[in-house]
């Protein structure tokens, strides 16, 4: 499998780019014609553009939902069930894009990951290709420990190993279980606090978008790097908590 690379958002046409409706000829037609209501041929746009949004992380969730419902009423295949085969095809394409876009944008973390992907950062692909490589080489999947977590993770992994050994021979070291439980709780708190950190960078990013073209490329790159860093740590902790939970429950 090869990585997909997407054009950065800044090169894309702006969302208010208009074109004429194929059916009635009226101007101002995006996904459907505002004049005659007919579905339009799908254009390859990113999810933000699809909703007519700027590529910002903070958005009005209630408004997004409302827009999703309103667009569904125009684009869902049920609406064009009696239209021509061509329109039905477009409707299927458009509504699948609408659903994919809504699913991605309504979740702040997915939204961030998507935004990063548009900027050329493939978080998922990174972990996916690392996983695949580990599997083909016969290694157990090992994630690279984010630098900030090295120390505590090392300690915790030792304890986890000990717990597994004990479980194997049927022993229960209550003190150890308690200790691991405590650390798990700490990690969960850390996980939550990382969200706050991320939210700070979201604001920074959105501020850059507001400044438009005058925002320097290196400023953008810096915020992107910070977001990637937080997400990597977050993912790592999530996996670790999952391992701890299954070790404690087994």
């Amino acid at each position: 499998m090869i990585k997909s690379t997407l054009t950065p958002i800044s090169n894309k046409p702006l969302p208010d780019d208009t074109h004429a409706c194929w059916s009635c000829g009226a101007m101002r037609a995006e996904h459907f014609c505002e004049s005659c209501g007919k579905v339009q041929p799908p254009a390859p746009v990113d999810y933000f553009t699809f909703f007519g949004l700027q590529p910002k992380v903070n958005l009005d969730a209630a408004q997004l939902e409302e827009d999703f419902y309103q667009l569904s009423r125009k684009l869902h295949p049920d609406v064009s069930a009696r239209a021509s085969a061509r329109e039905q095809e477009w409707s299927l394409e458009q509504s699948s894009m609408l659903n994919d876009a809504y699913r991605t944008l309504r979740d702040p973390i997915k939204r961030t990951q998507y935004l990063l992907r548009l900027e050329g950062v493939e978080l998922e692909e990174q972990s996916k290709s690392a996983t695949e490589e580990a599997r083909t080489t016969g290694q157990v999947k090992k994630q690279i420990v984010p630098p900030g977590l090295l120390e505590e993770v090392f300690e915790l992994n030792m304890q986890l190993e000990e717990l597994r050994m004990q479980k194997k021979v049927g022993e229960d070291d209550l003190a150890l279980i308690k200790e691991i439980g405590r650390q798990k709780l700490e990690l969960e708190e850390k996980y939550e606090s990382l969200l706050e950190e991320l939210q700070k960078y979201w604001k920074e990013w959105d501020g850059l978008i507001d400044r438009g073209r005058e925002a320097a490329a290196d400023e953008r790159a810096a915020v992107i790097k910070k977001m990637v860093d937080v997400l990597n740590r977050r993912n790592y902790i999530r996996n670790l908590v999952r391992d701890l939970t299954s070790a404690l429950e087994s």
């Binding site: 295949p77 659903n99 695949e132």
Partner: protein, 633 residues
């Protein structure tokens, strides 16, 4: 443009129904026997003619090898995953079946695939609708369990096509039920639909918002339902009989069916009575008698109904909701009549379930609502839109036999995902893709949907081609795949090998008679039916002529009848069904007095001490009068 007639069909494990939107209200279309429910039983009669529904039920006991029920359990499944089913159901699999082939079931001397057998049920429903409307019906919305996978959905769609129906949409059963519920209630809020039917269980959680029915999460078990309760009771009865009466009836299909009927009756009775007595006649003049109390029954079925708890919890978890946040729980499916099931639902969701809707009919009614929406809508439905989800994650097999999920379960459909593939060897022209459905980590634990071969990739060095493959789940929950090699812009050819389904060619060859031409077919069937009716009335007349009542007619009356008889005989062979109908109607009127006289003599012979059986009433000249027109409401 007049709205097309689109019907809604609930193709159930135990019963099937057809409904349509009459004005602003969905109604169920009854069959010829007046019943709204058509039992999903298919039998072959002495002349190898397919009999469907209530009339087919007696064959289950009399000639069990000529009858099939619960065929829905086998839809879209392979021989390797029905082992459990074969232990519990009297399905007889064709002996010459090869691994990887579509399942075929023996019915009499013939073997048929599950979609073909389901098509016979669909065709009966289609006929019922046509009889009701007096015109051809060729478009339908068919419901499927929400938890049906791609293969099961495809099999249902194939069944529709075989029956001569253009299946405009497959709708998930609980979602359909919510449409009927929502049409009724017109309220916003979070609703759960708990659907425990004859063979399948679904739980769906929806958000109702100004006419939008948005499914948030769904879960279920496509092999859990009332059937499982029946099978448990049958097993217990057979064990009892072996122990107490020393009779091993496990291989005696007739006896098993007689017991099955008795336990089903008992199960139903126990929903309203504290106890029932089972009393079944057995071979060798023996009887099986036993009393079951509701308490015993509830203890027995507890493990079965407990299996609905896991899917409910998972659906709540996926929806990110607590039970208290569900504002209403709607019960669907015949098995939700069982008080213990209702108690379980109440405990789980901490509220009294909504039981105002007829649990047998609500799915078909909802299908009719969706049919109406697709047909352009009416005042009642114009604001309604259903946003459903895919119940299972879609994945592809990657290195090491691992599933890489590309569309997660509970994604709103239509949904799509794009994957990129490249080659590993210089000049490689094909890439194989294995598509899976399910939640498990390893490919071997997921459902294999299909294997695709991307062909005709232009010769390039390894790793250079960039094939974009688009996976799209449509609004029916069925997968479509398309591919394009990006560097050459060439559409890559995709060869699909469905893991469990029929190929297009197979479906083509199965299409019943000339059902692709519904108008022509309907006209032909009307003609055949009219001719059959003509033969019946003519035969009845022959009998009448031999009865003493004939002598009581005046010579004028006899002459009139002879004239009308001749007229009917003349038009009978011709193609004009309306003319035949008119001639039948005339003869029907003309023989009214003869029928009355025969009725009188029958009654008087009863008075003379003869019983009805000994009195030859002729081919039913009494009730119902064979000449009576079929009723069109």
């Amino acid at each position: 443009m007049t709205a097309e007639r689109i019907v809604g069909i609930d193709l159930g494990t135990t019963n099937s129904l057809v409904a349509f939107m009459q004005g602003e209200k969905p109604v169920v279309i009854p069959g010829e026997d007046g019943s709204n429910l058509v039992p999903s039983v298919v039998a072959l009669d002495e002349n190898n003619q397919a009999i469907i529904g209530n009339r087919a039920r007696k064959y289950l006991i009399e000639t069990p090898d000529h009858a099939v029920y619960s065929i829905k359990r086998l839809m879209g499944r392979g021989i390797e995953d029905i082992e459990e089913e074969l232990k519990l159901f009297p399905f007889r699999v064709a002996e010459d079946l090869h691994a990887g082939e579509v399942l075929r079931i023996k019915l009499g001397d013939k073997t048929s695939t599950p979609p073909e057998i389901s098509a016979l049920i669909l065709r009966q429903l289609k006929r019922n609708a046509e009889r009701y409307f007096g015109e051809a019906v060729s478009k339908a919305v068919i419901t499927v369990p929400a938890y049906f996978n791609d293969a099961q959905r495809q099999a249902t769609k194939d069944a529709g096509r075989i029956a001569g129906l253009d299946v405009l949409r497959l709708v998930n059963e609980p979602t359909a039920a919510s449409l009927a519920y929502g049409l009724d209630k017109q309220q916003n809020g979070i609703v759960a639909v708990y659907d425990l039917g004859g063979g399948t269980f679904d739980i769906s959680i929806l958000k109702l918002h100004d006419g939008i029915f948005e499914v948030i999460a769904t879960n279920g078990d496509t092999h859990l339902g009332g059937d499982d309760i029946d099978n448990l009771l049958i097993t217990i009865a057979l064990d009892d009989i072996r122990g107490d009466l020393g009779l091993d009836l496990r291989r005696n299909a007739e006896a098993v069916q007689a017991i099955r009927k008795a336990v089903i009756d008992a199960k139903i009775a126990l929903s309203s009575q504290p106890s029932v007595k089972l009393d079944v006649e057995l071979p060798q003049g023996k009887r099986y008698q036993r009393e079951i109390t509701r308490e015993q029954f509830e203890q027995l079925i507890q493990p079965i109904i407990d299996r609905t708890v896991g899917p409910c919890r998972q659906a709540l978890k996926d929806a990110n909701l607590k039970p208290e946040q569900i504002e209403e729980v709607v019960l669907v499916g015949g098995s939700t009549r069982i008080p213990k099931v209702r108690a379980l639902v109440k405990e789980m969701f901490r509220r009294e379930p909504h039981i105002d809707l007829n649990p047998d009919e609500v799915v078909a009614l909802g299908a009719a609502v969706q049919a109406n929406i697709l047909g352009g809508g009416s005042e009642a439905t114009q604001n309604m839109l259903l946003l459903d989800v895919t119940p299972l994650s879609l994945g592809i097999e990657v290195a090491g036999g691992v599933t890489d999920k590309i569309i997660l379960r509970n994604s709103t459909i239509p949904a799509s995902a794009i994957q990129f593939y490249t080659t590993q060897v210089d000049g490689q022209a094909n890439v194989a893709i294995h598509v899976l459905q399910g939640e498990r980590e390893l490919a071997k634990d997921c459902r294999s949907l299909a294997r695709f071969d991307l062909k005709g990739i232009p010769p390039m060095a390894a790793g250079i081609p960039r094939v974009e493959v688009k996976f799209l789940i449509d609004a029916n929950g069925i997968l479509h795949v398309s591919a394009r090699e990006q560097r050459s812009g060439k559409e890559a050819e995709i060869q699909v090998q469905p893991s469990y389904g029929l190929t297009d060619e197979q479906v083509e060859s199965m299409i019943l008679d000339s059902f692709d031409n519904a108008e022509e077919d309907f006209r032909r069937r009307q003609l055949i039916e009219a001719r059959n009716e003509a033969s019946t009335i003519l035969a009845a007349l022959e009998k009448g002529k031999k009865s003493p009542a004939w002598g009581q007619l005046t010579s004028d009356e006899k002459k009139q009848i002879a004239k009308m008889e001749k007229a009917l005989n003349a038009v009978k062979a011709e193609e004009d069904y309306a003319a035949i109908r008119r001639a039948i109607e005339a003869l029907n009127q003309g023989t009214m007095r003869l029928a009355e006289l025969m009725m009188d003599s029958a009654v008087s012979s009863v008075l003379k001490g003869k019983n009805m059986d000994e009195t030859d009433l002729g081919e039913g000249l009494i009730a119902p009068h064979p000449m009576a027109k079929a009723e069109f409401k």
